[in-house]
């Protein structure tokens, strides 16, 4: 007789074989310009200009209209260069693409809207193709 209740271990292993926490798809996110990410932009992301960069600590400080935020760039942070304003395809970027004065949008890893700590992704808007 099959047990009506799968054991705790069975549930745990079955969970490990499932993706229990839903995630949004990252692949097309690169092509979404700053401020246009559906359900996310300015609801849980921040948008502002890079005020300062700490290269050693891999952190940036961003100034919005009324407040500033700090974000950490970890090895898993996606950095995307938003060139849509130039009519060019967006691209993967690097830490070096983050420069003072550039407009950025940051989604933090903590998905509950807490705007600090490591960044899940950063979009940086460039004004020239160089």
């Amino acid at each position: 007789m099959f047990r009506p209740l799968i054991g705790v271990m069975g549930v745990a292993v079955l969970m490990l074989s499932t993706a229990f926490f839903a995630h949004s798809q990252k692949a097309t996110e690169i092509f979404i310009p700053i401020g246009k990410s559906p359900g996310v932009s300015e609801k849980i992301t921040i948008i502002g200009k890079i005020e300062s960069i700490k290269t050693q600590q891999k952190t940036i400080t961003v100034a919005g209209a009324t407040e500033t935020w700090t974000a950490e760039i970890s090895s898993s942070t996606h950095i995307w260069v938003d060139r849509s304003g130039l009519g060019l395809s967006n691209q993967k970027g690097r830490f070096e693409d983050l420069r003072e004065g550039l407009l950025v949008e940051i989604k933090y890893e903590k998905g509950d809207g807490e705007r600090k700590g490591p960044a899940e992704w950063i979009k940086v808007k460039v004004e020239d193709a160089g």
């Binding site: 009506p4 499932t18 995630h23 692949a27 559906p38």
Partner: protein
């Protein structure tokens, strides 16, 4: 004579303005707006609409038979006639032959070597099938939407992947992104499609074979289906309560001799949810299955019988999900069904699909009957919908050799629906007779509830 009178009436009344309700923010108006966007809006892209891959007349999915009916200049085939999309946008041979669509779910940085080929999931019963405690799961791997991952955001990702004019995918150049209002309307429309709630099994079915199939499905020592398909839907319950829609690694990728792979075309492994993927794929509902094949994320099998029989396979029983089921079975068996049991389960799935199609047909017929003269275009569309759903019911039941008397009633219903489409003065009567035939068919499949 009827046509002549209709023409006269048309001429007399053609000067009158039709009373089209203005678009507003009410739920039904948002659905109407969403419908118009879904089937007509190209978002300044390559000509495709959402309806290009999710046509209403084919259960909001595409398969090789349906694809074969499309003209060569249909936007679905844009990779065949747009030189900017000739390479690395679709695989036209695999699209036409197996209904497979190319997606770059692991990124767009290497289009030649980073892509998957997946079937088109239908968009029916989404209200019952995407929610989970961890957030909504969309698409075949449960991570189909960008942004917040919701059904609402899905269209944004779809436009970027499938609507672009060139592989540069520049917003504002190759396409435009849906507006917030459009996303709201599309979400309302998509959630309005199909069932709005799960079935409550067991159903009082007629016919010993579908009845036995239902028993097997509900038997957690035999079919074990309702662990992951509660009430033949898309949610899971392992004994501790419903956990919503979930992903599983059921080993479909390990099936040998998959049809697309036999062509010699480059087929890359699909690793499912996330990047890199964890091998899991999303659970679709079973009610809508029988008339929306081919099945699984890669259209690996064609018929509902083959889809059920997959769970007997080594591929499934050696998969993480199969091994878990086996480890909790006193005989160490994952799923093992005899051929007759596979047939019975498939018969059950065919019957519940036909019942759903009958329900939708009756709904469409009743709605059509309510439309006035100035809403005749909507009435025609509803009748067309009823004809399509009735055809599905016939195909699904006859394909399984099930309930021939019910099939006969459905064939009569279909003829009446067709006549109602061509009729002005007898439309109402023909619709009522079609409804009567649908209900007679329904009564042969299930006891009155």
């Amino acid at each position: 004579m009827e046509t002549f009178i209709a023409v006269i009436f048309g001429l007399i009344l053609s000067g009158c303005q039709s009373a089209t309700p203005p678009l507003g923010k009410s739920g039904s108006e948002l659905v109407v707006q969403g419908r118009a966007i879904f089937f007509n809006e190209t978002f300044d892209g390559n000509g495709r609409t959402c309806g290009s891959c999710h046509p209403a007349e084919n259960n909001f999915t595409i398969d090789p038979a349906f694809i074969a009916t499309l003209p060569d200049d249909d936007p679905l085939f844009v990779a065949e006639f747009n030189p900017d999309l000739k390479e690395n946008f679709e695989n036209p041979q695999l699209m036409r032959q197996f209904g497979l669509i190319l997606e770059n779910l692991d990124g767009f940085d290497d289009l030649e070597k980073k892509f998957t080929l997946r079937g088109v999931p239908h968009t029916l019963a989404l209200r019952t099938s995407v929610d989970s405690p961890g957030g909504p799961r969309t698409g075949w791997s449960g991570d189909g939407s960008p942004g917040d991952g919701s059904v609402r955001s899905f269209a944004t990702g779809a436009v970027i992947q499938h609507f672009t004019k060139t592989l540069n995918r520049v917003a504002g150049v190759d396409f435009r992104l849906p507006t917030e209002e459009e996303l709201d309307a599309l979400e309302a429309f998509m959630l309005s499609l199909g069932r709005q709630q799960d079935l409550a099994l067991p159903l009082p079915l007629k016919g010993p074979v579908p009845k036995r199939g239902q028993e097997i499905l509900l038997d957690n020592s035999l079919g074990k289906c309702t662990l992951c398909h509660v009430n033949a839907g898309a949610t899971a319950d392992f004994g501790g309560g419903n956990i919503g829609n979930a992903n599983f690694n059921t080993g479909v990728e390990d099936l040998p001799d998959q049809p697309a792979g036999l062509t010699g075309q480059l087929i890359l492994p699909d690793d499912g949810f996330g990047t890199p993927g964890d091998g899991t794929f999303n659970t679709p509902p079973l009610v809508e299955a029988a008339d929306s094949g081919p099945f699984f994320h890669n259209n690996a099998v064609r018929t509902i019988e083959e889809a059920v029989a997959f769970y007997n396979s080594d591929a499934f029983n050696n998969s993480p999900s199969g091994r878990i089921l086996a480890s909790n079975d006193p005989n160490g068996v994952g799923i093992r069904l005899e051929a007759t049991q596979v047939e019975a389960m498939a018969a059950f799935l065919r019957v519940i699909n036909a019942l759903e199609n009958i329900r939708v047909s009756i709904e469409a017929l009743e709605a059509s009957a309510q439309k006035g003269f100035f809403e005749r275009k909507q009435a025609e569309e509803l009748l067309k919908n009823a004809v399509d759903e009735t055809e599905n019911s016939i195909t699904v039941l006859a394909g399984g050799g099930l309930h021939p008397q019910a099939v006969a009633h459905l064939q009569r219903a279909k003829r009446l629906e067709g006549k109602a489409m061509d009729s002005l003065f007898f439309k109402g009567k023909r619709i009522q007779n079609a409804i009567r035939e649908q209900k007679l068919a329904q009564a042969l499949l299930i006891d009155a509830r």
